[in-house]
């Protein structure tokens, strides 16, 4: 049992207690909030479905393997083991695929190997940037955000380099 797994039950407990014992009518607040939530989500669903379908197609086409082979040498030069390249292609695309890949890497190279540790740090400090970017932007309705994706990719690249550098520096 650790802190993270207790937080959600704690929040739910707070919520339940508040609803039951508060003098204010929280039913109305909940409904207002939930309605807002639904409206926000419905407007972003079409974009979300498009993006997730595209990601599905990308994975099915085997593109990530080919791209991995092509760019591995580049990454090896900056200290990123070639075995990690499939992970860093998939990480920004899909959380479940990257978890599967991470497990795979652990099985092949062991979680305490250099590769295993770098992969862990990479997974822990980054997220599915395409999904996050698309969702947040669609929710915000921003049209002119040309610099967001290059920025996100820059942050991701920095994260990849750091993931392989920090274990060497910090031990």
């Amino acid at each position: 049992m650790n802190v993270s797994s207790l937080i959600i039950p704690f929040i739910l407990l707070l919520f339940g207690t508040a609803c039951l014992f508060s003098k204010k009518d929280l039913n109305q607040s909940f409904i207002e909030g939930a309605k807002d939530g639904i409206e926000n989500t419905v407007s972003l669903l079409p974009s979300l479905i498009l993006l997730l379908s595209a990601i599905s197609m990308f994975t099915a086409s085997g593109a990530s393997n080919l791209i991995a082979e092509a760019i591995s040498p580049l990454f090896e030069k900056i200290g990123v083991p070639g075995e990690l390249v499939p992970l860093l292609i998939v990480r920004p695309l899909s959380g479940s695929s990257s978890t599967a890949l991470l497990t795979d890497l652990f099985e092949k190279y062991g979680p305490d190997s250099f590769i295993g540790i770098c992969a862990s740090v990479m997974s822990g400090s980054s997220d599915t940037i395409f999904y996050v970017t698309a969702t947040y932007l669609a929710a915000a309705g921003i049209k002119k955000s040309k610099h967001l994706l290059p920025c996100a990719v820059t942050v991701m690249l920095l994260g990849i380099i750091l993931s392989c550098l920090l274990p060497k520096l910090m031990g």
């Binding site: 650790n2 802190v3 993270s4 797994s5 919520f15 204010k24 929280l26 607040s29 909030g33 939930a34 807002d36 939530g37 926000n40 989500t41 419905v42 669903l45 979300l48 479905i49 498009l50 993006l51 997730l52 379908s53 595209a54 599905s56 197609m57 990308f58 099915a60 086409s61 085997g62 593109a63 652990f106 062991g110 979680p111 305490d112 540790i117 862990s120 740090v121 822990g124 400090s125 997220d127 996050v132 970017t133 698309a134 969702t135 947040y136 929710a139 915000a140 309705g141 002119k144 955000s145 994706l149 920025c151 996100a152 820059t154 991701m156 920095l158 994260g159 750091l162 993931s163 910090m170």
Partner: protein, 191 residues
């Protein structure tokens, strides 16, 4: 933006499928992909409904004020315009807190909630939304339970040994994200 990303992904998928010979798999994915996407979307809808409601209740009973006081300095640094105008302070601090505490799935509705409060017709807080999105791409999390559990399950001698590395890495990335976003929006506004 989504159309551009999706369009690029689709083009790449088709071209590569010719090379890998997986054109059939690609066509299947074109149809099964959107079916899967609907499942994800429906789950998101449910989560948004529940957690947006919970957040509104939390706001009403005043719990969120504590969070926003605690995270004030970070809010001021990362989201200068929204902080100055006092907009969405509670929503933003809840979103940051959700990421730090590592409640993963529930963090998305809270984040979308914050964004809905920041969006406006004249795009006043767009730069802050962009910073927020960048922060969402490299979230600072105290306890990434998924990774630690995976490591433990794969037989790691010390699953939590990567924690310091993850902390340092995501901290550097978060600071970098804020700095990068503010630098770029400054540069863009100067044109």
């Amino acid at each position: 933006m989504t159309a551009k990303i999706s369009g690029a992904l689709i083009i790449l998928s088709v071209i590569f499928s010719f090379f890998t010979g997986k054109t059939e798999a690609l066509s299947t994915a074109a149809f099964s992909g959107c079916a899967k996407a609907v499942t994800v979307s429906l789950s998101l809808l449910g989560m948004m409904c529940l957690w947006s409601g919970i957040m509104k209740v939390a706001k009403k009973i005043g719990i969120l004020k504590g969070f926003s006081k605690l995270l004030s300095p970070i809010l001021a640094l990362a989201f200068p315009k929204a902080y100055k105008d006092g907009v969405a302070k509670e929503e933003l601090s809840s979103a940051l807190a959700a990421n730090i505490l590592g409640i993963g799935n529930a963090a998305t509705p809270i984040a979308l909630n914050a964004i809905s409060k920041l969006k406006s017709k004249d795009g006043k807080y767009d730069n802050d939304i962009i910073t927020f999105t960048l922060l969402g791409c490299a979230p600072f999390c105290i306890l990434p339970t998924t990774i630690i559990s995976l490591r433990a399950a794969s037989g790691s001698i010390s699953p939590a040994s990567v924690l310091p590395h993850i902390w340092v890495c995501s901290l550097i990335l978060s600071v970098f994200s804020i700095a990068l976003s503010r630098a770029v929006s400054y540069a863009v506004s100067k044109k």
